[in-house]
């Protein structure tokens, strides 16, 4: 409702420029907005998941169940379910209506990234540390895990040609070295995009769990894959210090107009810092996928590139610490990132100046002086009743006070976003910002040692890890993925 009143120049700004907020609840290690953009989930080093309300910047819910650092978060489409994966070899699907656990899924390895199917919150794909990625169906209490292939797709040899057994054996040996580091669903969820340790991108059919296409993108490890909200652009962060944007083929046309051999993953842009040879911790698209943003390794800056020309438009500065996960708000020009040292969540957005003409309606903001012209009847004196009556007679409009104009949003969105998280009145927010005090550049200590730690005692073995994470040694765990 406020769009008609807001300065169009402010609305026209696409990307944030100033550090505006600092959220804190424990040591956050990963972040994810829900689709609507009113809640931000943050996973902490101690395994707690904290849901922030973006409107109030307050804690909306805390979910306790993991005992080690949270690795990834994934919201269901309607915002009711949240899938968390952790280094404690578990994934938990939470129901945010009451904060209960819908499913707890155990694996035989720490989980890198788990992502929910875009339309089915009981299906997710998880990539595991030094293990095969799995597609997990949790519609029944006992999860059904299907192993996804990591080996790149080899086109079948042309008919009549024999494959040399030696070549085949060599290929098989090479294929065995591939391990999948990251898996995400495509926009419709019919396919899974997987990035391997050898720099390959595999497209796997969800239904059959078979690879239908593979492309070699680079030499390094594929660290992160992100799909834009329109589903057509893929963002790849790899260990060769280059961020690539890829135009995805329309996979819904498979079998109609598009045949699997014709799939092409076309690199659109390569973003890199040629001078400093920076490598990138985490990357994300902007809400409209016009921009790409990345946090930098060993550097407190966040880079923002625009995609039409592929140029760097902004370096967001602010905190004096290296930033880990960076996320862009799904509809607003707002970027959040969490600091690796303190675990604080920093927010960049646009600061709008107060318009003074809004405060005093009889004042206007003019560019230059305006000549004053007296109206003919400006100082005429009329009886008060006459003025009042004249005013009343002029009120001949037909206002419609009931009808709400339909939103610009697509109907699907409105239908899906029916879930409303209940407001909890007894959120115990014991760990406020004052808990951690900076005693020097990069060094923090707790103001009251031991206080507010009881939440971490839920899992005995998680305790040590928590303490380690607070002192900044979580870098080592992060580094293992690189």
């Amino acid at each position: 409702m406020n769009l008609s009143l807001i300065d169009p120049f402010v609305l026209a700004q696409d990307y944030p420029d100033t550090l505006t907020e600092k959220l804190r609840s424990g040591h956050a290690t990963c972040l994810r907005f829900n689709r609507k953009g009113d809640y931000l989930a943050s996973g902490r080093a101690d395994g707690t998941v904290v849901i922030f309300d973006i409107e109030t910047n307050g804690v909306a819910r805390k979910l306790r169940g993991h005992t080690r650092q949270i690795q990834s978060l994934s919201w269901s489409r309607d915002g009711r379910y949240l899938l968390t994966s952790s280094q404690d070899w578990k994934c938990i699907l939470w129901d945010l209506n009451d904060g209960s656990r819908v499913r707890t899924i155990r694996f035989e390895a720490p989980v890198y990234i788990a992502e929910l199917h875009p339309y089915n919150h009981l299906l997710f794909v998880a990539s595991l540390f030094e293990d095969q990625p799995v597609l997990v169906d949790v519609s029944s209490p006992k999860p059904i895990k299907r192993i996804l292939p990591s080996a790149p797709f080899r086109p079948p040899p042309p008919k009549g040609e024999e494959v040399d057994p030696a070549v085949a054996a060599k290929q098989a040996a090479q294929d065995a070295k591939h391990s999948t580091c990251v898996t995400i669903f495509t926009a419709l969820g019919n396919h899974i995009v997987a990035g391997t340790s050898k720099g390959w991108i595999n497209i796997i059919e969800t239904q059959t769990c078979t690879t239908i296409h593979s492309t070699r993108l680079c030499n390094g490890v594929v660290i992160l894959l992100r799909l834009a909200s329109n589903g057509r652009d893929l963002l790849v962060n790899s260990s060769d210090r280059v961020i690539r944007t890829i135009l995805m083929p329309d996979l819904s046309q498979l079998g109609i107009e598009l045949e699997p051999p014709n799939i092409k993953l076309q690199v659109e842009h390569k973003f890199q810092d040629v001078v400093n040879r920076l490598s990138w911790n985490h990357v994300t698209f902007s809400s409209t996928s016009e921009f790409v943003t990345a946090s930098t390794f060993m550097n407190p800056d966040i880079y923002v590139w625009e995609r039409s020309h592929g140029s760097l438009v902004k370096i967001l500065e602010g905190p004096r610490e290296e930033l880990g996960v960076v996320e862009w708000h799904p509809s607003r020009p707002m970027v959040v990132a969490c600091g690796l040292e303190t675990g604080c969540i920093y927010t960049w957005s646009i600061v709008t100046p107060q318009k003074w003409s809004a405060l005093a309606p009889d004042f206007g903001e003019v560019e230059e002086n305006v000549e004053y012209l007296e109206r003919e009847d400006e100082f005429d004196i009329h009886p008060a009743e006459e003025i009042h009556q004249r005013r009343l007679d002029q009120e001949d409009e037909i206002p419609d006070v009931i009808t709400i104009e339909p939103h610009n949003k697509s109907h699907v969105d409105e239908e899906m976003e029916s879930f409303c998280m209940p407001v909890l009145l007894d959120i115990s927010d014991s760990e406020s910002e004052e808990d951690i005090v900076a005693v020097g550049p990069g060094t923090m200590r707790r103001r009251s040692p031991g206080a507010g730690r009881d939440y971490a005692n839920a899992g005995a073995d998680g305790d040590k890890d928590t303490a380690g994470g607070r002192n900044g040694t979580s870098r080592g765990q992060k580094g293992r993925r690189r």
Partner: protein, 545 residues
């Protein structure tokens, strides 16, 4: 600057044809027709582009039937359509002796969605109105068509009935229980309950259909000026002259009456003076309060702490309201200003002021959030178009010189027809007045209260529409809308019900029941808390200086 060239330039190096098409489709949609004078031509373009790009989620999602979900009324009928309908209606009446009520019943059965019906209904209405008396024949024709066509054509609904000339709210319950004047009354979000708060510091919850007292919340140290339901109906917030706001957990499904409810342990402390008006945000995560200390506070409901303080006014803030989608806050004060604030940034976006500068005591957004209704101490209620900053309607006929009255919007009209809006307010002469929003005519004047009527609220519960009012005389009165035909029976039933209710309301805490019924000023009633006795008028907000 042309839209299409712009988009081409921006996306010069990429080829996705479908995306451009879709984004253009959004931009050319007629939905966004802003009349904002701020937006100059080229800026406007840019704005449009931003807006659309923010809102488009460019996922190609599975095909779904498009549905318009957010609308109070899908059908809007033009005037000539109504004229046709009027003719049809009269002829129909002549033919069927059963009268209006029978037809409206039929209308309900045939067309279960009179509100938010959508475009199809409207089209059907149109056809039907043109065809007039051919109604039955057309239904037959429709059936014969339906045999041939693969999708059966539903029988067209009856045309919209004419706009009523008056309202027919009748007195249903007289709710007694408050020891002193009642300053605020509100229906719960699902309309099943009524909450009232008064100068005796108590919040009482009543059942809408039976008029029984469900719960009483006591804990405030001074009188209550304002109450607000949380959107889920589980919590009531009350703002009091003891400078605090308290939350109360409403326990639904209790059968025994007069259970002492418990306050939420943490009160909202921060205001330096009386809290005059509070309002929940539509999500229930924020609470907005206006106080005598001239400030407007945004509270984080979860942590009970002030999230943002708006440097609002230079006089006591009398009224607060939040628009339906939560993006705007309206506040008003006795300095005569109405300010519109952006919830997200806390900035003032507009200030509305009338030339005569009368003190503004209450403010209310229209159901669609495009207008603001404001009560001023010059016997006027004004409807403002806040985007253009103009007063577009002035409603008069009530008395409002000293007290902070409040009211709201209501809906009337036959269930099968388009809904019409009325504005309702209390009056200092003990009446409740309903005006048609467009014509400014008084649709109904309900007398009954023996003192100033401080608060009015309306609701729709099932098929019925209710109104509730409260006043300085310490009573809460519930009214039900009745059809003219059933008037006699309804009145009798209502009277009987009220009598029964009176009998049942003999609760232990009220002894001087009969006395209070006759005395207009509540100061003579027995008071439980001593500090209240000194200031009998403490919850009558916004008195003129």
């Amino acid at each position: 600057m042309d839209r299409s060239t712009r988009s081409k330039r921006r996306r010069i190096d990429r080829s996705p044809e479908p995306r451009r098409a879709s984004s253009n489709g959004f931009i050319q949609s007629p939905v966004e027709s802003s009349s904002d004078e701020l937006a100059a031509a080229s800026d406007h373009d840019e704005t449009e582009r931003r807006r659309s790009s923010w809102n488009i989620q460019k996922v190609y999602a599975p095909k779904r039937p498009s549905r318009r979900s957010h609308s109070f009324s899908g059908s809007e009928s033009s005037d000539e359509l109504t004229m046709d309908a009027d003719e049809y209606w009269r002829s129909r009446n002549r033919r069927s002796p059963t009268g209006v009520s029978a037809i409206s019943e039929q209308g309900n059965d045939d067309e279960p969605t009179p509100i938010g019906g959508g475009d199809e209904d409207n089209d059907n209405d149109n056809d039907n109105a043109i065809n007039g008396d051919m109604d039955d024949a057309e239904i037959l024709a429709g059936q014969t068509y339906s045999d041939r066509s693969p999708t059966p054509v539903p029988p067209p609904p009856p045309p919209p009935p004419p706009k009523p000339e008056k309202l027919n709210y009748h007195h249903k319950f007289l709710l007694k229980g408050h020891l002193r004047g009642v300053s605020a009354v509100r229906f719960s979000p699902d309309a099943s309950m009524i909450a009232s708060g008064g100068a005796d510091g108590a919040v009482k919850i009543w059942d809408t259909l039976s008029g029984k007292l469900i719960q009483t919340f006591e804990g405030h140290l001074a009188g209550i000026s304002t109450i607000s339901w949380s959107p889920d109906g589980a919590t009531i917030a009350s703002g009091s002259d003891d400078k605090t706001i308290r939350l109360w957990n409403v326990q639904t499904g209790l059968t025994s009456i007069s259970i002492q409810g418990k306050a939420h342990p943490i009160p909202f402390v921060g205001h330096h003076n009386y809290v005059y008006q509070i309002a929940f945000s539509p999500k229930g995560n924020m609470l907005v309060s206006g106080s005598y200390d001239e400030a407007v506070f945004l509270w984080d409901v979860r942590s009970a702490s002030v999230m943002r303080s708006l440097p609002a006014h230079s006089d006591p803030v009398g009224g607060i309201d939040v628009v339906w989608d939560g993006t705007l806050i309206a506040s008003c004060a006795t300095d005569g200003l109405i300010r519109i604030w952006d919830t997200a940034t806390g900035q003032c976006l507009r200030t509305l002021v009338h030339e005569d500068n009368p003190p503004v005591t209450a403010v209310k957004f229209s159901p669609n959030g495009k207008f603001v209704l404001a009560w001023t101490l010059d016997d006027c209620v004004r409807l403002w178009n806040y985007v253009e900053g103009r007063c577009i309607k002035t409603y008069q006929g009530h008395v409002n010189r000293t007290h902070s009255l409040s009211g709201g919007f209501g809906v009337y009209g036959a269930p099968s027809g388009p809904p019409w809006a009325f504005a309702v307010s209390g009056s200092e002469d003990g009446a409740v007045l309903c005006w048609d929003v467009v014509s400014k005519k008084v649709l109904q004047r309900i007398d009954g209260h023996t003192g100033v009527v401080l608060g009015v609220d309306t609701c729709t519960l099932g098929e019925k529409r209710y109104m509730v009012s409260c006043g300085v005389d310490g009573t809460v009165r519930v009214y039900e809308e009745t059809d003219e035909e059933e008037e006699g029976a309804e009145v009798a039933a209502a009277a009987a019900a009220a009598a029964v209710d009176d009998g049942e309301e003999q609760q232990p805490e009220e002894e001087g029941d009969e006395d209070r019924d006759t005395t207009p000023v509540p100061s003579e009633t027995p008071v439980t808390q001593d500090e209240n006795a000194g200031e009998p008028q403490d919850t009558e907000m916004g008195e003129a200086k």
